[in-house]
């Protein structure tokens, strides 16, 4: 059984936008962006956004909802993704390792078919949108696994169709140049020049598995259910001094940005502020709740 950890709200796009508006931020980079729906929000509000993540599927979703300005998936294209194509041969055992543990035999077949179908899509934008929609279907299945009586049985293709259909809402043009990279944070930061950098590294002690679904979905995208991906993100050591060193390295790389925005919580605030003060002379705070605090460092 996978552990579905109920994370607290530490960041919300609309509050982040409030801060950007207040601070006059017209461009921003998030080198640890994760699922970049927050960048999409900022994009839709006219800010030039740049993102990066060491996890590849996040970067693809970024291509779909951050870089892509106009391409959506039409109904027949969604149909081609969510169903097995007649005459096409799919590898039946690709995700057999998950069968009986996380998914049913039918679900594993669909995961294999979706994997193949998405790989054959024509544009980066469409790939990103499809990965995002399918991610939600995948997350639904895991949720149903944890609470089988609470969620309806929905046919896999219907479930995936509904979720992919939803992604078109995230597509829009802000008449700005927006980029996303599949890269370590240092590389992403070195390639762009923006008014602000958003730094959301994993919390200290987090072993990179804060949401195990994320890593499973990377394994799905790679087509390898055995792929070890837990060290793709920082914070994995679980050791406070090592975390401090990693965060310091990140902050050193972020020096060129006039403003650093660092989401944190009441429990971590002191530690994060202390690390920030080694690199930034002025630190302000915006507090929306005990769990959602932003340190603004110049």
């Amino acid at each position: 059984m996978i552990e579905l950890r109920d994370a607290r709200r530490s960041r919300s796009a609309s509050h982040l936008h409030e801060i950007c508006r207040e601070m006059g931020v017209a461009s921003i980079v998030d080198p640890y962006m994760g699922l970049p729906t927050h960048l999409n929000y900022l994009k839709r509000h006219g800010i030039a956004v740049h993102g990066g993540d060491p996890i590849e599927w996040f970067a693809h979703v970024g291509q779909g909802i951050v870089v892509n300005d106009s391409v959506i998936l039409r109904d027949f294209e969604i149909g081609e993704i969510v169903e097995t194509a007649p005459g096409r041969i799919y590898p039946p055992d690709l995700f057999r390792a998950w069968e009986g543990v996380f998914f049913t035999e039918e679900q594993c077949r669909y995961l294999a078919a979706w994997h193949e179908n998405v790989k054959s899509l024509r544009s980066d934008g469409q790939v990103g949108l499809a990965i995002l929609g399918l991610w939600w279907a995948f997350a639904y299945w895991l949720q149903k696994l944890a609470a089988p009586d609470d969620l309806l049985d929905v046919p896999p293709s219907e479930l995936a169709y509904a979720y992919i259909r939803k992604t078109e809402r995230w597509v829009g043009d802000n008449a700005r140049h927006n980029t996303v990279r599949h890269a370590p944070p240092a590389v992403t930061m070195s390639r762009v020049s923006t008014d602000a950098v958003l730094l959301t590294p994993p919390a200290p002690g987090d072993d990179g598995r804060s949401d195990a679904r994320t890593l499973m979905w990377e394994a799905w995208w790679q087509g390898n259910p055995y792929q070890p991906v837990e060290r793709l993100r920082a914070g994995g050591s679980g050791d406070a001094s090592a975390w401090q060193a990693e965060f310091a390295e990140l902050l050193a790389g972020a020096r060129k940005f006039p403003l650093a925005i660092v989401p944190t919580s009441d429990g971590e605030r002191e530690r994060v502020a202390s690390a920030l003060s080694d690199f930034r002379s002025s630190i302000e705070e915006r507090r929306f709740s005990d769990d959602e605090i932003y340190l603004l460092a110049r």
Partner: protein, 417 residues
Amino acid sequence: MTLFKGSGGIPSRSAAGAATALTHALAAVADLAEGHRLGHGRRIAWLALRLAPLCDLDAVQLPALYYAALLHDVGELWLPSEVFHRSGPTQRSESIGLWEHPVIGADLAARLGALPPAVADIVRWHHEWWDGTGYPDQLQWSQIPPAAQLLRLADTFVSAAAERPNRHALPVEEVYQQVMAGAGREFGPRYARAFSLLFQTDPTVAQLGSGKDDPSAELPASYPLTGATGENVEALLLTIADAADARHAVLGGHSRRTGQLAAQLAERLGWDAEEIDRARVLGYLHDIGMAGVPGSIIGKADRLTSLERTVMQRHVSHGFEILRHIPELEGYALPVRHHHERIDGSGYPDALTDQAITAPARLMAICDTYDALTTGRPYRTTLGPEDALARIERDAGFAFDPSMVHALASSLPAVTR
């Protein structure tokens, strides 16, 4: 009726009473703008409050839930009205615009000051989905405040079960099935379970969409906004004035200006302090029903068709309906209804004559017309103060009360300053 300090022209014993009444008026404006029957927010509040104990929501959160339910879609007042008033499915570009309304509403709730602080967060996140696919912030699971999750469910049920301009009401059993199918996607499973229990055991839930025997009528008057101040009351009044004018850019600031002009004329006419303040408030409220008129009609440059004129003229009845159901504001209901009456009986909606039209309504007719003439409309050019006055003087004794027109003429230098 006595005017109490800090209640901003509202005949209430306190700022709390005035703020509570005005918040209900603002909620009604939001209902109207979205094309709902009046009381839509209240019906949602009723359902959300019934669900709250079944979901172990702390009783201290109930006032915030109540006001968030009343005002949940207040942000839509500042979106193009065509989204709500035309038939057919919502377009993609409109959906993107709709995403803004929870944030606009939350900012407004926070600015008003009189409301419980949690209202802003509940409004901000009432379109978040439990599976993380909602908006504006894609929160998931317990990141969404429980009160916002309750509101999401109550909003979905009541809205789908009610008739709207762009679609028919769904049968209540079908809506129930729709809600239950959303368990684990739109709604947290425990909230869906609580709803199922309530729906199966309380037949009044099914009446929410029917328009008959509305169970929300049994709600207590409301949770009074006990901490409200005179400043909060003023902020609410101005917000309602702006909301009334939000349907089209040509109306921008009209109600505020009309309120100020009404106060100046009332003073010139020798009305007492309370009457002057009430004239100002009436100016803010007189077009409250415009929220129910599509912006395409308000901003139309050509002659209105007879159907469009009927829709436009309905704004006075809409305003009347809103105000007559709020005890602290019912004194404004008739003047709002009659501010387009003409003393020769050629006005609408009741074709009243002379003194049958109350003095505040006669005053409002002049102030409303003067502001409309001097700020321009798409269908005619803007007039200067003297030309506008000449136009109004021409109609004195036919449309307008001559003594009030005289007061306008004598105060014109002050008005145009």
